[in-house]
Subunit: 186 residues, 2 copies
């Protein structure tokens, strides 16, 4: 991110604080180390619930959140659930939409690009044969995700697109992330 | 998934309907084609909101949901937001926790494995230098995600782990998914 030389608030982002954050991480790279967390509990069938509260970042445990965010996931009836919440694959699309948008807005603020509105629609194609193990030619996850944005801003579409591509969630979805799983029997 | 020969409900999953679903997709693979969707709107700063309602699957538009799921995402104060919701990277962890759990529960049901409880804690390591563009040695997304499960069930830990690994979200996060982004100026 090019260092913010503007002052004040652009796109709802405090660019003074952003500049200070960038300088602080440049001077002490360990301040850039974050650990995010989610705790999840199975409720029954396709229904489970995450609580999200604490995280580590900027050199310390963050205790600003007084209560957790509570997120329910379930499957719709056609996938044998009771629709108590969006399903896990829909949450991936939300995470990606949110991440692309935030990256766009923050990086635009750092460059002095003013954004008036951002709307997006994401679609993901998933073939159930993969999850069901009916074909080893079909992956379990999304074959492809398409994101289409409508943006009002004082910069060309190509430049805005580059800002979305800097998103951590874009990196997570479009590139491999090592995931380790440990199971303890109770 | 090995075809369910049990009847009734296991782990809250109707294994009769599961067996019928598997047979239907085997006979007509196009019934396995699903398209999930999210619409997102930027509100200001790090705050944006997704609505999730319609999807295509099992050969038709699904209209069972009478209202959308509404999901808010924001950044915490240390990341220049106002904490109106979990942030995009935390939503990734929730999607993964939910997906691993659902895969475990459904595939266990198909095998007649009874599950009593599932709890998980996920941690993801992210270095802000990547997003800020301060180092091209640091990726923007998670370096690593660790999922730790505590499970009560009548099967060994190694077998339970294999069932989590069949999750579409595990595939999405640990392998590359092609993401296309189109920007239309308004």
């Amino acid at each position: 991110m090019s260092q913010a030389t503007m002052t004040g608030v652009i796109n709802g982002v405090d660019v003074d604080r952003m500049g200070a954050t960038i300088r602080a991480v440049q001077e002490n790279t360990s301040l850039g180390t974050f650990q995010f967390r989610a705790k999840n509990r199975w409720i029954g069938g396709g229904h489970n619930r995450s609580t999200i509260q604490s995280f580590y970042g900027a050199g310390q445990e963050d205790t600003a959140r007084k209560k957790p965010f509570v997120l329910d996931s379930d499957e719709p009836p056609v996938l044998l659930g009771k629709d108590h919440g969006a399903n896990p694959y829909e949450y991936v699309l939300h995470a990606l939409a949110a991440g692309l948008t935030t990256s766009l807005v923050y990086h635009a603020a750092a460059r002095g690009i003013h954004i008036e509105s951002v709307e997006s629609t994401l679609e993901g194609d998933l073939d159930l044969q993969g999850f069901l193990g009916l074909s080893d030619q079909v992956r379990p996850g999304y074959k492809e995700i398409r994101a289409r944005f409508a943006i009002k801003a004082d910069a060309p579409a190509e430049e805005l697109k580059k800002l979305t591509l800097l998103s951590p969630v874009y990196d997570i979805v479009s590139n491999p992330v090592p995931v380790s799983i440990q199971i303890d029997k109770r």
